[in-house]
């Protein structure tokens, strides 16, 4: 609970600091604050408290994911110093909105009540709509913000309508009570409930950008400022999946059979669409958007097995994916800036100009493709074993084929770096980006080699 409140205070503090005209201090203060909150959050481990009439529940699940989210935000903020170096006038706005995205995510981790889930999603989404459109004079960014807003509103509408129907059937917003309702009325669960459940699940599928609800993702990822894209593809994806997982494992587990075939089909479509569409992309951010969709496909396998598995696989995979994506962005953002382009061509000949960065980005791409020794491989392996054990034979097979296709488009970037003649742009070296880059890669290898503590965290 403290975590949530202090993070919100941090967001407000950001705006106050601007009034006192100490803009330079904002980012360091935020980083420091988040580091403290990270520690506070760990304090709640094994505490299992609930607050506000059981609206919010702090358990190990929420503590672990909150920790991950805060860590990701920390890394993003470290990069923000350089990213917003030329836009100091608005830095307090940006930083406070980014902090509120984290607040929304935290609510999505520790909700115990559907209204709280809705609040969390809205806090996160509204802040994100603003950030997506935050490059005001860029038409792409405007498009991204507007598109995300329109589509997101629809999804929110679905979610709210679904929650209302579930309330109508079960008489409660509380996750535990809704689960009780499905257990006690096994034979005559109201059709209202199922309708509500489907609507809620569809809304969640939209948030995790699973096909066929993924159409917003490429445009929004493409148009948003690169740092926001990095944030979206890591924190927001993790938050959506954690909330989704919690919903499936604590509330809908009893009525799971009804929705499993749908989710199964969604998983297959997501894997296919994400990987096949990624093949023809020339823009790096769009490529990562589709790669994000395909990773959503792998994570859908976790959702499918949510009923009988702990969240360890989800946590491990999210961690692996977030680290390696951030590493990729930590190379990509300065390259984009230097080349003034966000196409894969911007990486041409990076190996000649900047061998260290080229090697690092190659590692990130290999990691994203799920090749050992990076954590992504073990995460995939774990997910596949669980899915196969739960009997999703064909879905796993599709996932394996999807991994094959994945190699091709990740390697396009490597080919550009090593195979193409260099372009003239000169890349600036920045301590912050390098810090994030090497921390992420190192952690990714460490967790890949010592997976035990993370995999069995719950």
């Amino acid at each position: 609970m403290n975590t949530l409140i202090y993070t919100a205070i941090l967001g407000f503090l950001c705006m106050v600091l601007e009034i006192f005209n100490v803009r330079k201090l904002i980012v360091p203060a935020l980083v420091l604050g988040l580091a403290l909150i990270f520690g506070l959050n760990l304090n709640d481990w094994n505490s299992n408290q609930s607050f506000f009439n059981n609206m919010v529940r702090i358990d190990n699940f929420s503590v672990a994911f909150s920790g991950l989210a805060i860590f990701v935000t920390l890394l993003i903020f470290i990069m923000a110093t350089d990213f917003y170096a030329e836009d100091q006038n608005h830095i307090s706005d940006y930083m406070s909105i980014l902090t509120f995205i984290l607040v929304g995510a935290l609510m999505m981790f520790n909700y115990a009540n559907l209204t709280m889930l809705f609040l969390g999603i809205e806090t996160l989404s509204i802040a994100l709509y603003v950030m997506a459109g935050s490059k005001r004079f860029d038409i792409r960014s405007n498009e991204a913000g507007f598109k995300y807003f329109l589509m997101g509103s629809f999804a929110s509408g679905f979610l709210l309508f679904g929650i209302a129907l579930i309330f109508g059937a079960s008489g409660s917003f509380d996750l535990a009570k809704i689960a009780d309702y499905t257990i006690q009325n096994q034979q005559n669960i109201s059709p209202l409930f199922y309708t509500g459940m489907f609507l809620v699940v569809f809304a969640m599928l939209f948030k995790v950008s699973a096909a066929p609800f993924h159409f917003w993702a490429p445009d929004v990822y493409h148009g948003s400022p690169a740092l926001v894209t990095a944030y979206m593809s890591t924190l927001v994806k993790i938050a959506a999946f954690a909330a989704f997982y919690k919903l499936m494992s604590t509330t809908f587990f009893y009525s799971f059979e009804k929705i499993a075939p749908v989710l199964n089909v969604v998983a297959i479509i997501t894997l296919a669409v994400g990987n096949l569409m990624a093949l023809s992309q020339t823009n790096f951010k769009r490529l990562l958007a589709y790669s994000g969709i395909s990773h959503a496909g792998y994570l859908m396998l976790v959702i499918l097995t949510a009923k009988n598995q702990t969240a360890g696989a989800l946590f491990y995979y999210s961690l692996a994916y977030a680290l390696i994506t951030l590493a990729a962005f930590a190379v990509a953002i300065p390259v984009f800036k230097a080349a003034n382009s966000e196409d894969i061509d911007a990486f041409n000949g990076l190996a000649k100009k900047n061998p260290m960065h080229a090697a690092a980005l190659s590692m990130a791409m290999i990691g994203l493709a799920g090749i050992p020794p990076f954590a992504g491989f073990l995460g995939k392996y774990y997910i596949f074993t669980e899915a196969l054990q739960s009997g999703y034979f064909y879905t796993t097979l599709v996932a394996i084929f999807a991994s094959m296709i994945g190699v091709y488009y990740y390697f396009k970037v490597i080919l550009a770096m090593y195979g193409q003649p260099a372009n003239e742009s000169k890349m600036e070296q920045s301590f912050n980006y390098n810090l994030v880059l090497w921390v992420c890669l190192a952690l990714s290898v460490v967790f890949g080699i010592f997976p035990g503590p993370i995999l069995n965290i719950f």
Binding site: P372, L378, Y381, M404, Y408
Partner: protein, 477 residues
């Protein structure tokens, strides 16, 4: 603990090399590969005297999912380890009179590759074996891509995707096996003693077979190979053809046969027929080749086709022959590619036609080239003969007609190899003013070593057979 030392020497070397520059890199690489070779000899004596116990290493990696690390050693692994660590110093040495850009990265990748290859050959747990199998792919991809010739981007990507696709199928097979038993064990000992797990063996067979067939390569999974051999830098090609191919054939013996016996029994005839088709097809294509490196690539397909045919014939002489031939082919093919590289480097001419008379200017080179070719066409008293004879005998035991076709490899092999030698080395020079200095010191060391090995192994193949016999006899049961 000896297994860990085997792994750590090249790994440490690979990391150290990143911090070296210029000529120091290749000297360091040579020193480390020699250290590894010496250590391998030591390991061999330990294995001879004390048995496999000293190599045993078993540790738990993760409890859920159940992942174990299991390194061990038996005769088969030891032969492969010896091959790998024997070839690596030769391959490093062969690059001594070539200028390389960013040599430190090149040699670092090469030693990393040695680390992964050693890992593949001593892993006795499916998961860790898979990881090393994948790890071996990454350095060779970057070696071929960064230092390769024309069209490398396309060719190496094809190679990478091809082999990774195979690996993923194998991963799927391991996932199957993982879920096949309640213990979730992928340990080799466990899997080979419980081969009748609940999984569908037909499926399993094909998943494993395709993975290995791509690596070996067996027709029709070979299309990545000639292009990759032709564009990769010579040292990369040596690694690929000399050692990496053997990962596939070794894995057939180590993993496919003991773990999926029913599947093998069911599909044996398909596998062996494909292998024999590969022999004939590749030999015929090799005759038609104009490019020297491509000719060698196709000849390599023909040779490994015979190895896999012998393995699938499923009898002792086939197994033993395959081990002997793996070793022999590893040595010969490295020699052949080195000779090709020497020719191409000095004459800037990669075609078989339009050259000649090398013998007149470089008699030493011509002699050693001839010896290696004789080894490759399986002349008696050379190493190629022992293996091919046993392999053909085993195929004959399985089916006479298949043996007749497989036997063509010796005749056709002689045709394309000797014709190539005649056109390029004998006769009088077609090209005017050909500058062809005879062997440099490092070339001499490499070729003489290979030449001596060809004869020693041809006359005295016993050690390899003795080493592998107990393991292979076990396999027959």
């Amino acid at each position: 603990m000896l297994s860990l030392t085997l792994l750590s020497i090249p790994l440490i070397a690979a990391i150290l090399l990143l911090f070296s520059r210029g000529n120091l890199s290749r000297n360091l690489a040579l020193v480390f590969t020699l250290v590894q070779l010496v250590f391998t000899v030591y390991a061999y004596t330990v294995f001879k005297n004390e048995g496999a116990q000293a190599f045993e290493f078993l540790a738990s990696w993760s409890v859920k999912p159940v992942l174990n690390i299991h390194f061990a050693m038996d005769g088969m692994s030891l032969v492969m380890i010896m091959l790998t660590n024997l070839l690596l110093p030769l391959i490093v040495l062969s690059g001594y009179n070539r200028e390389l850009e960013r040599a430190h990265i090149f040699y670092s990748l090469m030693l990393f590759m040695q680390f992964a290859l050693n890992g593949v050959f001593i892993s006795f747990d499916g998961f860790i074996y898979y990881i090393f199998w994948e790890l071996a792919l990454i350095p060779i991809y970057f070696i071929s891509f960064n230092w390769g010739g024309e069209g490398r981007a396309k060719v190496t990507l094809k190679f990478f995707i091809y082999t990774l696709a195979g690996s993923l199928l194998m991963l799927f097979a391991f996932l199957f096996l993982y879920n096949g038993t309640p213990q979730h064990s992928l340990d080799w000992g466990f899997l080979s003693s419980n081969p009748s797990c609940s999984c569908n063996q037909t499926w399993l067979f094909w998943l494993f077979f395709i993975a290995f067939a791509i690596k070996i390569p067996i027709i029709p999974f070979h299309t990545w190979q000639p292009d990759t051999y032709a564009t990769a830098p010579t040292q990369g090609t040596m690694l690929l053809s000399g050692i990496m191919l053997k990962m596939g054939t070794y894995s057939l013996l180590r993993w496919l046969l003991p773990i999926v016996p029913a599947g093998v029994a069911e599909w044996q005839y398909v596998a062996i027929t494909l292998s024999v088709i590969g022999i004939v097809y590749a030999s015929v294509i090799a005759i038609m080749q104009k490019d020297l490196k491509r000719l060698l690539a196709y000849s390599s397909i023909a040779h490994v086709g015979l190895i896999s045919a012998g393995i699938f014939a499923f009898n002792l002489s086939g197994f033993q022959g395959s081990m002997v031939q793996m070793f022999a082919h590893g040595i010969n093919v490295v020699g052949l590619f080195y000779c090709a590289d020497i020719i191409m480097n000095r004459t800037k001419h990669g075609e078989i036609e339009g050259l000649g008379g090398i013998r007149l200017v470089a008699p030493q080179f011509a002699t050693w080239f001839m010896i290696i070719i004789l080894g490759s066409v399986a002349l008696p008293l050379t190493n190629g003969f022992v293996g091919e004879f046993m392999l053909l005998f085993s195929v004959y035991q399985y089916n006479t007609w298949l043996a007749v076709f497989a036997g063509l490899t010796i005749i056709l092999g002689a045709v394309y190899m000797l014709r190539m030698y005649q056109k390029m080395v004998l006769g009088s020079a077609i090209k005017e003013n050909m500058v062809f200095p005879d062997l440099y010191w490092n070339e001499k060391i490499v070729l003489v070593t290979i030449g001596i090995l060809i004869f020693v192994m041809g006359i005295f193949p016993r050690p390899i057979m003795e080493l592998t016999e107990p393991v292979l006899k076990n396999l027959i049961k």
